[in-house]
């Protein structure tokens, strides 16, 4: 099984066409507002607004379900725990906050090209150049961080497949050890690929690992 590395889904909806900087700012404001709500009703309205965003962006329902499947399981566990520790209303608030904010972030990555996001961050941080900071580095950092979500999901899915193939589905170490090793190897290879493209040439020091 192989899943796409990035989360972006090409399209021509109004959300796809909206400027990346505006969308990023909107997402930050939206997430902040969602965290301030402490009643289930306004949170449910906010969640409905995100759902409307998915419809507007013409994201296929099966893709939304695939993305939120694991999240819903985790939220179910959080709801059960919070209900037991606090009360069902507080549990619903916590879960709705998480669901709304994470889904909004997913909608953002589904409708925003990483290249546009990197450019928006670079533009937004351009004044920081006067303080000696390099906006390009921050832009690249943000872009690679978003990309890493897809990469880690792919590595995790492949590791789970290998785990099942060896009939070791219940073994934590059969998942954790190869996942960690593959993640570190990917980081090493990505570093080399970036260096080969001249990224980070200002920093000459880098580690090495044995090769053939």
């Amino acid at each position: 099984m192989s899943r796409p590395l990035g989360l972006y889904q090409p399209g021509n909806s109004p959300l796809h066409r909206a400027p990346a900087g505006g969308k990023l700012l909107g997402l930050l404001v939206f997430a902040t507002v969602v965290m301030l709500f402490d009643e289930p009703v306004p949170l449910a309205v906010a969640a409905g607004a995100v759902l409307a965003g998915f419809v507007t962006a013409r994201i296929r329902p099966d893709r939304v379900l695939r993305m939120t499947g694991t999240l819903l399981v985790v939220l179910g566990a959080i709801f059960a725990l919070q209900s037991w520790l606090l009360d069902p209303k507080s549990a619903a608030v916590v879960c709705l906050r998480l669901l709304t904010a994470i889904s909004a972030a997913n909608l953002f990555t589904l409708t925003t090209r990483i290249d546009d996001l990197v450019s928006a961050v670079e533009r937004g941080l351009a004044p920081a150049r006067r303080l000696g900071l390099r906006p390009e580095t921050f832009g690249l950092l943000v872009g690679l961080t978003v990309q890493a979500v897809g990469v880690l999901a792919t590595i995790a899915a492949q590791t789970r497949e290998a785990q099942r193939a060896r009939d070791a589905s219940r073994s934590v170490s059969a998942f954790a050890v190869p996942f960690l090793i593959r993640t570190l190897r990917h980081a090493d290879e990505l570093g080399e690929a970036l260096a080969a493209r001249g990224v980070g040439d200002a920093r000459e020091e880098r580690s090495e690992s044995p090769r053939n």
Binding site: S2, R3, P4, L5, G6, L7, Y8, P10, R113, I114, D115, V118, S119, E136, G143, L144, Q147, G150, T154, H186, E189, L190, E192, A193, L194, A195, A196, R197, G198, V199, D201, E204, E208, S209, P210, R211, N212
Partner: protein, 224 residues
Amino acid sequence: MIEFDGVGHSYGEHTVLDRIDLRLEEKRVAFVGANGSGKSTLARTINGLVRPARGRVLVDGLDAVRDGRRVRSRVGFVFTNPDSQIVMPTAGEDVAFSLRGKGLSKQERQRLAEAALAEHGLQGYAQHPAQQLSGGQKQLLALCAMLVLEPDVLVCDEPTTLLDLRNKRLFVERLQRLEQQVVLVTHDLELLENFDRVVVLDQGRVVADDEPHAALRHYRELVT
């Protein structure tokens, strides 16, 4: 021209390169050797990805370590696994990413990226999720992302290892059409038919350095 001047390198106690002296002027040069022979490490010294512990590597007179930035702008590198070279989610974005440091506008980067994709048989794939391309197309994308920088030298480290026969042919066809000097690290001896020079490595040393037929005869004797 690439010059290796007394190049040596070790990983801990293990010596992987032992006093390599070479001058590579030919258009098509290959490094062959068994696993652990040092060929990938030697290739990585060309653009400073590996800093040799001893000796130096020069590319057109520039030291690959001291002038690393300038050397990397002249030397493109294609790795074995295309998945780890693809940085951006779509093919167009990935090629455009290579051009970020060139001070070009976004539109210009996109235009050049699309032109590069078209030139290498990936026309119409600019918006395509890069990880949904076939193995051969991914490797072509990796090649594209390097060639868009117009390097003088292209180093390819076993670029066909993960490809099936059809994709391997597709990739090699593109490689053969390039104007650049190509240094190919490979196990795949049939790729070397049209090469000018083959360097055979064994335990970090050059054991044969000749035209393909003679060098490969030596290599076959070595491994049998």
